[in-house]
């Protein structure tokens, strides 16, 4: 653990270089009325790593992700992003900062085609006004062509060319998940948040999704923070894991360290009360 907290980062088992701290949670506490969803949690996310947050049901994982994405404002503690404390922000400002996410229960525009959905991920990169875009001349045209190119690269990367023009509502669940990932990637984020990317998938779809997550990290060097139920998947994918239980952090480290942590084993398997 010690060499990890050094500023220079560390090397993973497969030889990838992980950089300095990208985001840091400092003593976060989040309350909803009288309910404490998160109690005094601190951890960091480093550049280029795949960081997982796991825990049993109701552990506060999704709340944590919402804090990271800036949707919830913690009552206590600070979120540091790229070396500075982050102020309260609107969702579009979060996106402008280079944070993109997917949702546990898919939030796509069902009536729009896959391509249009992916293009919405590029909205922040479009500068021309409504009128100019409607006329589609000159600058607006060039801008859309450039952005379409990025969207097409993502479509190619995630192998969804065959459904490019298909309305999202007609797609099966596994593909919708992939389209959502595509939209998040189109933002070209520096931090990608995935909320249960494998939920409700069969083994084959899970394998595909794992492959894509690894490839995204490998190809674009995107930092990824993910929440996941499936322990097998998490342990295979992530570089470091935070374990939560009842809103508290009970473990933090490499998958191996976490796997052998007694608190974690107790939280997942239960403890005998005598």
């Amino acid at each position: 653990m010690n060499e990890m907290s050094s500023e220079e980062g560390y090397f993973t088992a497969d030889g990838r270089k992980i950089g300095g701290v990208l985001m840091e949670m400092k003593n976060i506490t989040l309350r909803f009325g009288g309910v404490k969803a998160i109690t005094d949690i601190s951890f960091d996310i480093r550049e280029g790593e795949i960081r997982a947050i796991i825990g049993p049901n109701g552990a506060g994982k999704s709340s944590m992700l919402n804090v990271i994405s800036g949707f919830y404002i913690p009552q206590e503690g600070e979120v540091w992003y790229k070396g500075a404390p982050r102020p309260q922000m609107k969702p579009y400002e979060v996106a402008q900062q280079g944070i993109a996410r997917t949702f546990q229960n898919i939030a796509l525009f069902e009536g729009m085609t896959v391509l249009d959905n992916v293009m919405t991920g590029r909205l922040n990169h479009m500068k021309t006004g409504l009128f100019a875009q409607a006329l589609w001349k000159g600058k607006a045209e060039a801008e859309e062509v450039a952005n379409r190119e990025v969207a097409e690269k993502v479509i190619d990367f995630l192998e969804i060319q065959h459904i490019r023009k298909t309305p999202v509502a007609r797609l099966p669940y596994g593909l919708k998940k992939r389209v959502e990932l595509a939209r998040a990637l189109a933002v070209q984020p520096s931090l990608l948040l995935l909320d249960e990317p494998m939920a409700g998938m069969n083994v084959e779809e899970k394998e595909d999704m794992s492959r894509f997550i690894l490839d995204v990290n490998d190809e674009f060097g995107t930092t990824i923070a993910l929440i996941e139920h499936d322990m097998g998947v998490v342990m295979d994918l992530s570089d470091r894991v935070v374990v939560m239980d009842y809103g508290k952090k009970i473990g933090d480290g490499t998958p191996d360290e976490v796997r052998n942590n007694q608190d974690v084993i107790d939280a997942y398997l239960g403890v005998a009360h005598d």
């Binding site: 030889g15 097409e152 479509i155 990367f157 192998e159 060319q161 065959h162 490839d215 190809e219």
Partner: protein, 657 residues
């Protein structure tokens, strides 16, 4: 339209043809590929530069003349360039089926002793790495798609673009060598080695010379008047001889453009966008397209459905005659024109076949109804008969003499002989050189005078002079009572039903015939949906009693039609079973070109065959299956066996024989 200079002088190799095309059609599109949603294109001049850079890079990497270079990937310009670049440096390209499991690749790579492979992506790289310890000659691998490969050890692994870059950098070092190697190529040098799919035993490497490919390409291009303005869609496996002849042989001879789809899944969309003028597809593709049209028409509104049915009825009546230029009444022509505007035209457009001038189907028999459907729309679909050893062409159907039940007349320069047993032999400029490292098989197949045994049985039809194929000669057998057993004949009749994907008939040396049947999941699945039948898996649907009822009807109809042929009436199906799994190349039950390996299937499902013959009503079985990544699993099932009505054969007919 510019005609290519027809003299073969100096044009004795594919690289020589490339030079000519770069000179004569420099600015004309040679390759297109859809990538990132846009059709990217390369002119002949650009393609020549790409190929030259790669060829220089290959010399730089240490490729010697006579080396074998394996090419593994789906149809992309890069792989066509790879094959021609290999030829340019005096090496021999060996395209492999990209969906082969690692084990199958190991055999071919070992057998040809490839020192180099050019592959598509991580999937293929992983497969070759898995087996490379067993390949003593293997040295370098070049890949195109970098995704997921960043962390691999790159001592023997190279990016395609890097090899080209190195080639460009080493231009002055190697260009003279490249020219010298290119000029050494002539009609007798090896053009390509293609492995046969192997319905029996191990695949054999068929060596084809430049003469084989170029003369066959020239003859067939002239036969169908192909020119530089034509467009094809390259989507069939690159390891298959047909793709080599169409996308390299004919493309280089005539200078037409080869279009590559974005991915296998987008093939239909890409077909529509390109609108090829020259199109080739195995019967299965036409069948699937037709099934899709019919399924969608079932879901259409009443008005549209009625209009479609009427239009199709009219097309059936006069369409083929109009296409063949036979006399048709003025009113019928007018009506056809009207429907063409309303129905046929838009339908052809949806199918991507609006511009098709010449279309071919081969590889298997095509159902007469399917064949007539396309022809009645005004699509000039024809049949040809060929094989790898002949550089494809043995017989073809000339325009105006097209029928569903024959395969046409001998192709230009092809001689055909049929022996007393009905076995077909041919001799042509396309006849292969030899089977690589396999003189016994070569001698078995090709005699000293160059006659090649097709292994098929057939006869020339009286009057028209067209060839008709009965079956694989070795599959034609005798039943216990001495009557003829021709499984393919009956299976084809079954397969012409859209809900039957595959059928396997057994009955050699037995007193009656039994059959395995595979249902077509698309067609039957759609039917189930419309009839509110729920199912969770292929297996469940295949075992549904109502599905069994429908198939039984089909079997009984086929029995009636088989009974009409006195020679083959013994082949009626007495009992049948719907298999719980689709026959699959990954499990070795079919070849990669989707031909059933009979002996293998009979052995693998031995318990089911026995149950079919011993009269039991059910059979429980467990079958091993192989997943795409090579892992094994098994499925258990209890299958219901059905008896089918047969038409009694009058005994005097047998006695009369």
């Amino acid at each position: 339209m510019v005609e290519p200079s027809a003299t073969a002088g100096g044009l004795e190799s594919i690289p020589a043809l490339l030079q000519r095309n770069a000179r004569e059609f420099g600015n004309k599109a040679a390759y297109r590929e859809k990538e990132f949603g846009i059709w990217q294109s390369w002119t002949w001049a650009e393609a020549e530069k790409e190929i030259e850079a790669l060829a220089l890079g290959l010399i730089n990497l240490g490729v010697n003349e006579g080396d074998y270079i394996a090419v593994i990937g789906r149809n992309r310009p890069h792989f066509y360039w790879s094959m021609v670049a290999a030829q340019s440096v005096g090496a021999i390209p060996v395209p492999l089926y990209n969906d082969s499991a690692a084990e199958e690749m190991a055999y071919v790579l070992e057998h040809c002793g490839a020192r180099f492979t050019i592959v598509e992506d991580q999937e293929q790289v992983d497969k070759v790495i898995e087996i490379q310890d067993r390949l003593h000659q293997f040295e370098h691998m070049i890949y195109i798609d970098q995704r997921g490969l960043r962390k691999y050890d790159h001592h023997q692994l190279h990016r395609f673009v890097d090899i080209q870059e190195q080639g460009r950098a080493a231009y002055y070092e190697w260009i003279e060598d490249l020219k010298a190697r290119r000029e050494k190529l002539n009609y007798d040098s090896q053009c390509v080695m293609l492995y046969t799919s192997g319905t029996t035993g191990k695949p054999k490497g068929v060596v084809l010379s430049n003469r084989n490919i170029i003369v066959s390409a020239k003859n067939s291009s002239e036969f169908d008047h192909l020119g530089p303005g034509d467009e094809v869609l390259a989507y069939l496996p690159m390891a298959w001889v047909g793709d080599f002849i169409f996308s390299i042989g004919q493309a280089y001879w005539t200078g037409f453009c080869v279009n590559c789809p974005e991915s296998a899944d987008t093939m239909m969309t890409d077909l529509r966008e390109i609108g090829p003028t020259y199109y080739f597809a195995p019967p299965r593709v036409f069948e699937t397209q037709l099934t899709n049209v019919m399924i969608r028409m079932e879901d259409a509104g009443k008005f549209k459905k009625r209009m479609f049915d009427r239009a199709m009825a009219h097309a059936k009546k006069v369409g083929p005659n109009i296409l063949d230029g036979k006399p048709v009444s003025f009113m019928d022509r007018l009506k056809y024109k009207f429907y063409d505007l309303m129905i046929y035209g838009p339908l052809k457009n949806t199918l991507g076949l609006s511009r098709v001038r010449v279309g071919y189907t081969a590889g298997e028999a095509i159902g007469p109804e399917i064949f007539d459907f396309y022809r009645s729309l005004g699509i000039n679909l024809k049949q040809l008969y060929g094989q790898t050893e002949a550089s494809v062409f043995i017989t073809v159907q000339p325009d105006g003499e097209v029928r569903a039940d024959t395969v046409g007349v001998p192709a230009p320069d092809v001689e055909i002989r049929i022996n007393d047993e009905g076995r077909i032999y041919y001799r042509s400029p396309g006849t292969f050189v030899e089977y690589y490292k396999n003189p016994e098989s070569t001698a078995d197949t090709k005699d000293a005078e160059g006659w090649v045994d097709t292994g098929d049985a057939g006869f020339f039809e009286e009057g028209s002079g067209h060839l008709r194929i009965i079956d694989r000669a070795k599959d034609v057998g005798k039943m216990a009572d001495g009557s003829m057993f021709a499984p393919k004949y009956v299976e084809n009749k079954l397969k012409f039903y859209p809900d039957i994907l595959e059928a396997v008939l057994f009955g050699a040396d037995k007193d009656h015939c039994v059959a395995f049947i595979n249902i077509d999941l698309t067609a039957v699945g759609n039917w189930a949906e419309r009839n509110n039948i729920g199912y969770a898996s292929y297996q469940e649907l295949a075992g549904h009693p109502r599905v069994l009822d429908t198939i039984q009807e089909h079997v009984e109809t086929v029995n009636k039609s088989v009974a009409e042929d006195p020679m083959l009436s013994g082949c009626q199906i007495h009992r049948f079973v719907i298999l719980h799994k689709e026959l699959d190349a990954d499990d070795g039950e079919m070849t990669r070109t989707r031909k059933v390996r009979r002996a293998f299937v009979a052995e693998k499902f031995n318990d089911i065959v026995e149950a079919l013959y011993d009269g039991s009503e059910k059979v429980s079985t467990e079958t091993e299956v192989t997943y795409e990544d090579g892992r094994k699993g098994s499925i258990k099932a209890t299958l219901e066996i059905r008896d089918a009505k047969v038409v009694p054969v009058t005994p005097h007919k047998v006695a009369a024989e």
